[in-house]
Symmetry: C2
Subunit: 505 residues, 2 copies
């Protein structure tokens, strides 16, 4: 019987061929045999060495939490050591602080599974979900699960450096694929794969790593049409997709976010969604939501939508893959912190519920929309448009900007803005490389008091010194909104100072 | 200037040759460069994509915690979102829920470093400490840091199965060393190493894995004299030691724990230590505390002394090794849950202090001492001494027992009791192997309602079917103390039933 209530969906394909030797050879723990015996009523356990909750020195947690609309109104949640014994909830201190399962606590897994169903409605039968210790941990585990030393991973030309920093020491090689305002360009991906010369390069790539919403660093958000095109290529060349999507829920209103700008500096009144669908209906469907083959390993994170310090996220993939990840968890992190799980369960399940969670995400979308608008307004005001270009991101944390911009249009994702700078106008363009000019601007901006991130840091390490375009990533997530104006004024000053000779205007 | 206030200690040796290619090739993140820039006063950050604490939906945590003596008296701790801004403590919600450092939060690292100094006083200058996501995670990271596929790890003949389950898929091979009541036998270790035939077996082992206090499963606790002997062998053969010591602080009063038995079923009044030294003076020094070379990677855990669900521990090793582990953390778990760190910091630093922590450990030692005594008393009463043998453990969670015991004397560690059963008296000893008789007893005990753990589960996988001795591990940590009598009566019944024909008495 289908646990997701849908009878007509097919099962995921078999991905055994993707598994590393390490991952494939991992067995169930010999101690696992005890679990079904412990489940028998009346059994007296002299088996697993789990301490009794009477020796956990915590009796009660009392939390004051935000209301879903982010207003100053707060709610209070109290959890006692033995609530579940007294019918007080599905997780209490005694349970949360005990050894747990490799999946994470069942009640929170259930809540997140329902959330996944509401958000992505995966189009195959046997998907499953596991709670992770955040996307960095999930990616580390994924790169050890799939592929072997020497294998290639297909990545965006500019991408999150952690994928290189984790993958290179494991022996992976990387192939960068051209990007545009929607992220990876399908034609470029198709050409790379169909012209792959196995004799020269070795086996064809089997892994594709993407950050579909508010891509880090470019802020690009991939449309559904583009996702379908990439997915068809993945099917044709039998790629397995690592969908790293921490900014998925930070899909913002279009720029300018007119409503939030009604009253300058003061958030306008907003309509809060009255159903979960009202919130989710506006989001671009994920790769998971078009994944009929079970070829997507989707990594979601609580870092950007609750807090990084909970060190938690969740992965959705086929049961076969999740089972392998449970084995990996059992022999490493075991499961996320029970305190993190307890706090999240109390907040999301007991206090907010699915509608409250959706409203909180809606609240964040508007907050980050305002922050993005403030940064973009500052760019308009202080940065010379003739040498610097940028596009309003639609999702995420970042704006990308570059003096001497070339070729990007219609960027619509990020908590970042990606700014492009045209280095060819630099007076010493023939002597100083784009990498050197980028460094000059980076240092000049710091000297003036503003930290922005050089685009070269997001290139494959071997491409960093031969790059031909200058970009900067700017996040609108971190700084006080009041500081944006001065921060961007400094950046504009730094660009002018470095490039001024070429731009006497 | 020596940060530990001791001028005369030498530096750790260089362990570069121990590092795996993966570990040695891991670089600092390109993003790390931003940290020292962010530390400059007045810098406006459009750099790291860290969300602002105003978007963390937690305002206040109020905890009710145990007093260090484990009495019914409790204390209350309140932590606000922005305590540190208001001089209210070194960690608050805003800090704990933000992205953190690969070491864990500096104030908690400082507290644990002082704890290490008080407990172990490592005899070399440049040791350091990192907060981990528990010993399972630390061991996983360690096995990826040290050694290469095909390398050997030296282990106790009976050991924690996770070391096999983690190591075998990574390509490690294992060499089992004979044990006695104090754990690994030095002569056996020395013979193995000095007679190592490199041509037949490949490179000599470089890694030694030990569980010195209340060894899992045998409950054996290694004396200081034995540790010195093993350490000298490690120096002679240049071994690196993985000291996995979660039961270190569960070193219990000698059996019978006379004072706790004064009033049956009711803990007698105890003297609580009035100084940290009073508590620590009784503990057997660790390998770390005799480690002049920095060749020990010591793993401590909060699981047995606070709660498993915090998913936290700490590793102490030379700075060189800790630096490599920080890089591994940055690309995997990043750091333990901020909520776990916050709760532990508030409990240990703000509420208990070092003396309170030492008193709590003292409290646990007495509690577990009573539990051990209750289990041993039940063994005395219900289990036939002629075919079953055991020794009172001095530390840990486990008692080991075996009908048909052979050769162990004076076991004095564990939260476990290790029980030995003499299979040679079984009427079908020529037809049924020890492994089959062990399984018969295991199943008969379950049928009667008691779960104990077969000793074969702790052998190297290839030795499980050819083993010649029968043991069972019994923990006194998990079950209600009132159930011990009936649990052990059932075990005794199971042993008699399986072996009765040979023992008509």
């Amino acid at each position: 019987m289908d646990s997701h209530g849908v009878e007509t969906l097919a099962d995921a394909k078999d991905w055994s061929h993707m598994l590393s030797d390490e991952c494939a050879s991992r067995r169930n723990s010999v101690m696992q045999a005890m679990h079904h015996i412990l489940a028998q009523p009346g059994i007296r356990s002299l088996g697993p060495g789990a301490p009794r909750p009477e020796y956990f020195p915590f009796y009660q947690f009392h939390l004051v939490v935000s209301s879903p609309d982010g207003s100053t109104q707060t709610s209070q949640i109290t959890t006692e050591k033995y609530d579940t014994n007294q019918g007080g909830g599905a997780l209490d201190i005694a349970v949360a602080l005990q050894y747990g399962q490799g999946t994470g606590s069942a009640p929170l897994v259930d809540f997140m599974s329902e959330h996944i169903r509401l958000t992505h409605r995966p189009p195959y039968r046997n998907w499953s979900c596991i709670l992770t210790s955040g996307n960095t941990s999930a990616l580390d585990i994924a790169l050890r699960m799939f592929g072997r030393p020497g294998d290639y991973i297909l990545v965006d030309e500019y991408t999150y450096p952690v994928v290189y920093e984790t993958g290179l020491p494991l022996g992976y090689r990387f192939v960068s694929i051209k990007m545009d305002s929607e992220g990876m360009v399908p034609d470029s991906l198709e050409t790379t794969l169909s012209h792959w010369n196995t004799e020269v390069k070795g086996s064809k790539p089997k892994l594709l790593y993407v950050i579909p919403a508010g891509q880090n660093p470019t802020g690009a958000t991939t449309s559904l049409e583009r996702k379908n095109a990439i997915y068809r290529i993945a099917q044709r060349h039998n790629l397995y997709l690592l969908e790293d999507d921490p900014y998925y829920f930070i899909q913002m209103p279009l720029y300018p976010n007119a409503r939030s700008m009604d009253v300058k500096g003061c958030p306008a009144e907003r309509d809060f969604p009255s159903s979960v669908a009202d919130c989710i209906g506006k989001l671009i469907p994920s790769y998971l939501s078009i994944d009929t083959d079970g070829r997507v390993f989707r990594m979601d994170s609580f870092s950007k939508i609750i807090a990084p310090g909970v060190r938690m996220g969740w992965v959705t993939a086929s049961e076969q893959i999740i089972e392998r990840m449970i084995r990996a968890h059992e022999l490493s992190v075991q499961n996320p912190s029970g305190l993190s799980q307890l706090m999240l369960f109390k907040l999301l399940h007991d206090n907010w519920g699915h509608l409250g969670f959706a409203r909180w995400l809606h609240h964040l979308q508007h907050e980050y929309g305002m922050r993005r608008d403030a940064l973009l307004n500052a760019l308009e005001q202080h940065v010379p448009r003739d040498i610097v270009s940028w596009q309003p991101p639609r999702a995420g944390f970042f704006v990308c900007a570059s003096p001497f911009y070339s070729g990007w249009t219609n960027i619509n994702g990020g908590l970042q803005v990606w700014v492009s700078v045209d280095w060819k106008c630099h007076p010493e363009a023939t002597q100083r490389s784009p990498r050197m000019i980028e460094q000059d601007i980076y240092e000049a901006a710091i000297e003036c008091g503003t930290l922005v991130v050089p685009g070269s840091w997001f290139l494959a390490p071997e491409s960093r010194n031969t790059m031909q375009e200058i970009y900067f990533r700017m996040t609108f997530a971190a700084a006080p909104i009041e500081s944006f104006d001065e921060a961007i004024r400094c950046f504009g000053f730094a660009v002018r100072r470095v490039v001024s000779l070429a731009h006497p205007a």
